[in-house]
Structures are given as C-alpha cells and as structure tokens.
C-alpha cells in the first residue's frame, strides 16, 4: 500500500475516532466561545488546476488565537510536495518546459476566521487570509540545457471554510477546505537583478490555484 494512502487512511481514522469520542467534558457553558490561544496541527491533500501539476500530501501546524465570539486568527506554517510533469510551463520560445520533478512549497499563513456560531459543539467558519509561499522546484534529472530554473516565491490570497467539532472544551477536531491562489512563473537562476525589476505581466504566468483539504486537531490552552 502506498505511503500516501496509509497517511490518508490514518487521518480519516483519527478524525472518525475523535467524532466518536464521548464528549462528557464539553457541555453547557463550556461550549461558549471564549478568547483563547490554541495549537493547531492538520494533515490533508492538495491539488492544482494548472496543468502539469499533480496532487500530494500537505501538513501544517501553528497557533490559533480566538479573538472574539465570532472571530479568530490563525498563524501557521504548511508544507506540501507535488509532482511536476515534463513539459510544464512550456512556451513558444521554450518548448521543452520544465523537466519532470517535484514542486515543494512551504507557506507561512495568516488567516482570519469568521465563525457563524459562537456556541455549540459544531462551529463552522469562513476564512480569508494571506500566505507567503516559498515555492521550490527539484527536477528528477539535471536539465538538458544545463540551466537551473525555479518558481518565483509569491504572496497568495487564501480563501476557504472549515468546521471545528469541539470534543471537549479544549480539544476540537477540525476539517477545512482552502484555496491558495498563487500566481507565479518560472525564472532562470541565478537571478541577476532584484525581482522588482522583472515585469510579471511579460512572464508565462502560472496560476497555481491549489485546493487543499485537511483534517486536524486544535488544542486550546
């Protein structure tokens, strides 16, 4: 069985287990929203609509600050790694495109959550935020033309929605779907001028709009 399948299965089992746990500690006033700091860990998958990019596993963790009855802020780091097909990002001038390889991205996220409800076991929310995406490319084999290439790092808008299932007053299981909207391009390394001198509109723009689905745990202090 593939590692990815095992991980996905593990995540699903964990989430199902949490849903089935007795919630004796969480009742009444304990389920009121209150200002708190929490640690968040989550695991899931990511896929892209841009051709040439596959799907893969993502994982992340960070801190969550419940700032009000209906609001919270999440500061987190996530990482994912997806395959890149040969010929991706090809243009008329560069017909070969990228060689087969992998794109590994680390993103620093700052997301605002708006909770629909302020009380109860199930707390759905919408999220909007930004992510500083550090996008790396690793070809499976050295490029035939000997030129090293990489994706340009970007700030990307984050949009999504999620659900907190409060197992206890401190522990919640989380499910989240999020779109990460990065627009980037392939550049030749080493860069000879500051990135601000590059006209992005003259590049072969790649819309790396990733759809991320994740499950996790949130523990409040």
């Amino acid at each position: 069985m593939k590692v990815k399948t095992i991980e996905a299965l593990g995540t699903g089992l964990l989430f199902a287990g949490l849903l089935a746990m007795p919630a004796q500690a969480a009742s009444g006033a304990d389920l009121n929203a209150r200002k708190c700091v929490a640690v968040v860990l989550d695991l899931g998958s990511v896929s892209f609509s841009e051709s040439g990019f596959g799907s893969g596993l993502r994982y992340g963790g960070g801190a969550f600050f419940r700032t009000g009855r209906h609001a919270g802020v999440e500061i987190a780091v996530e990482r994912f790694d997806v395959p890149v097909a040969a010929g991706t990002a090809a243009t008329d001038e560069w017909a070969a495109g990228l060689g087969a390889g992998r794109m590994a991205t680390t993103t620093l996220l700052l997301n605002q959550h708006w909770y629909v409800l302020s009380h109860g076991r199930i707390l759905p929310y919408a999220l909007i935020g930004i992510g500083f995406s550090f996008i790396g490319y690793a070809p499976d084999a050295p490029p035939p033309d000997g030129i090293e290439r990489d994706f340009v790092d970007r700030l990307a808008l984050q949009l999504g929605a999620g659900l907190d299932y409060r197992v206890t007053s401190r522990l919640a299981a989380c499910a989240k779907v999020r779109g990460s909207l990065a627009k980037t391009w392939v550049e030749i390394l080493p860069r000879t001028a500051p990135i601000r001198d590059t006209d992005p509109l003259a590049q072969n723009m790649l819309e790396l709009y990733g759809l991320e689905l994740s499950f996790g745990l949130k523990f409040a202090f």
Partner: protein
Amino acid sequence: MIAIATTVTAIALGLTLAGVVPPPAHSQHGPEALTRTAASGSAAFPGPPPALPPATERALTAAAEVAGLNLGVWAFLHYVPNEFYDYISWETIRDNFRDGWEWDRSQYAVNFYHHPYHGYLYYSAGRANGLGYWGSSLCALGGSLMWEMTMEKYRPSVNDLITTSLGGIAIGEVGYRFSALVRKKGARGLDRIWREAIGTVLDPVGGANRLLNGRKDNEPWLPGSPDAGRILEGNLVLTGPVIVRSADVTGTRAAPILGFTLRYGDPAGSGWTGRPFDVFTVTGRLRWGPDRPHLSLSISGAVLGKPMAGSRGATHFLGLYQQYEYYGFDTMRVCGTSFTAGWTSSFRPGRDTRLTASARLGWLGFGSSDDFANVPGERRNYNLATGAAAAADLAVAIKGYEFFSALWRHYTLFNLDVTGSRAGREHWDILQGQVSVPIVNRIGLGFAAEYCGRNYVFKVAEPGSRHLLEARVFATWQF
C-alpha cells in the same frame, strides 16, 4: 472618476445636511446664531457632556482593520486588474527594507489625490474603533507605512507616505465629522437606510463596522444629527458661461463649474471644545477642461486653538491649522499639505451684519506644482517641493446671507532636486472674489472672478511666469 464621485458626494452631502438643517430662519443657525450665542457666553454647539462615558478605544482592532484594508486593496489589485506592481512576496518586502526610500513618480492626480483617499480609509479605521484624532492619525501613518514597505514591489516612496498620511488625516476627520451629522440615533426604516448609506460613504470603515457589529452611535461628545443646523453652513455654486478671461485659458467657455463650501463650526472659534477639527472648512469644485473634469479640493481644520471674546459681539480665534489643498485652474496645478498658524475674527459692525476676516502663515510641508499645457497624455514630470503657505479670507454677511467674499492663497515652493522635479523656486498666488445678492429665499445670483499666477526660476531653464484670469456669473444656494 474619483473627482466626479467626490463632487457628487460633496453636493449630496450638502443637500443632505441642508435637508436636515432646520428652516433657515437664522434664528437657530448660521453665523448670527453662532456669534450671538458666543456673545451671550454659551457654546454654539454642544460641548462634551460630562455624564457620558468616553468612547471605548480599540487600538488593536483598529490596527487589524488597517492591515485588513491593505490586504483587501492588495488582493483586489492583484486578482482583478492584475496590476504588475502588486506581485509581491517575502523577497520584495525584504528588498524594500534593504533598498530604502525613493520618490514616486506616479501621475500627478494619483499621487496627490488618490493617495489621500487611501489614507482616509486608514484614518476611518481608527475613528471607527474609538480612537481620537491623534490615535487615528497614527493609523493613517501606520497603514501608509505598511503599504509602502510591504504591499507593492516598488521601493517605498517618501512622497506617498506623506500625502497618504496627512491627506488621509484631513479627509478622514472631515468625513467622520460629517458622518456623525448624518447618522441619527433612533432613526428607523428608510430614514435609517439613507443615513447609514451616506454615513458609510463618509466614514467607510465605521459604516462597515456598524453593519457587521451592530449599530453603535458615534462618540457622545460629537455634534450629531440634531446639531447639524447649528454647526454647519455653506453653499453650493453653479457658474454660468465665462464672461471674460485670459487669452491662454484653454477649454470650453460654456461648461459650468460646480462648487461647494462647507463650514463646520464657527471659524471665529465660538463652540471650540479643544478637539482637533472642531472648526474646519472644506471647499471644492469640479471644473471641466481642458481635457477632462478636474477637481479642486481644500480642507483647513484647526488642530489647536484658543477662542477669545472681543468687544461688541466680536469673537476671535487663534489657531494652528492643518491644510490639505489640491488646486487646479486650466492646466495649472498646485497642491500640498501644510501647517499654518493664524487667526480668525468675526466682527458685528451692524445688528444684522457680520464681517469675518482671517489670515494664516506657515510651512508647506510637502507640495507639488505642475502645468501640463501642451503636454498631452499621462504626465509624470512635475515638481516636488517644500516651502511656505499663506492665506487670507474676508467675507461679509447680512442677515445670514454672504454678499461678498474674497480669498488669497500664496505658496512659495522650493523645488526638490529629484528625478522629474525641476530644482528651483516658484511662487503661486491665487485670488478669488465674488459678490452675490439673494433672489429667492437663500438662492442668489452673483459675479465671480479668479486669478492664478505663477512665477518660477528653475536651475535649468529661463525664469518664466503664467497668469490666468477668468470671470463668470453664478447662481448660489446658501444654507
């Protein structure tokens, strides 16, 4: 588009506020009431009610909303019009911190008109969260600083930081004060809807907060809707065709000019409670030509001041003022943000007569000039400067109707020797005068003349000058 929107908003505001003003009997409002009330020793508009608690200050929420505004504007620019300068990343931010400041050479109107509107949103976030003038000013500065350092791939711009912050403060405080006059506690139904809608235009973040967080009234010490008639006066002006003008003024002679003046509080200081912008004046006009509609906008508000009672009903006010001015006449432009010290006096030479005179002198912290005559298309070469600003005003009103007014504005610019700016010195003088008589109620007809002169000595060119004069008839509605 923003120029048109501003004028329409201002005129709508004028009509709106005029609509909530009690009938203009001037037994209740206007200069006479203000002077008379001051002479009798009471304030012209309500002072701070001591029994009411101060507004709750939510500085962190304000800071979060300022950051949110920047991210929202960035997201719009990045994903909708796909602006090239909003492709940012950790690297562009790092480079901006490393490479430091520069002078931005965006279009004239963008730099000196659009940017203050951006600052206005930051300031509005501060005001919407209970911060006062100074706290909200920090929001304008902080928001602008965040934008310059992080939200564009360009290096941070000194001039953008100044115009966004100081212009935003002036426009923001004016908008906030007017929003308090429009919003009304206890309003219901349609009355509430239109008040909230206009209030949101004037105080955008406050309007959004009220929508999201439930209705919260403005700070209790602010003059509100019931006080509009006592604290606000002004006029709307529509000019007719040109009667006479200089030969080199371009553009149509027939197109009208829409103008407005809104005076908040008594310029001579009665009713001053010690809070910045308890007294301010906003003037603006939309003038067609030569290439498109152009807006002039001037805001002058007292930041610090001391009112004094004179003899025979006279009142005087010594103040430190903040100005944001953007003036255009034909192809000539001068603008800037300045701080001046000055005085305003109001005299009562007759029972129904009021004479108001004022003068100010101070520092033009940052300004700019341009004359795009014979330069088609986008123009990015204009002078950036610091210098001095002076102003004088005179007005005569009888029974609350202003029959005569005149103003003089002077700017001495010491142009900076930076890219696109011609180092040197220039002097601008603007004179405007008008006389009018009431025809029906408070609607009158009059004659107005305007002069704009510029003399310059640049390091790299021969000295020169340009002088424009224009006279028109006009119709006015004073309230």
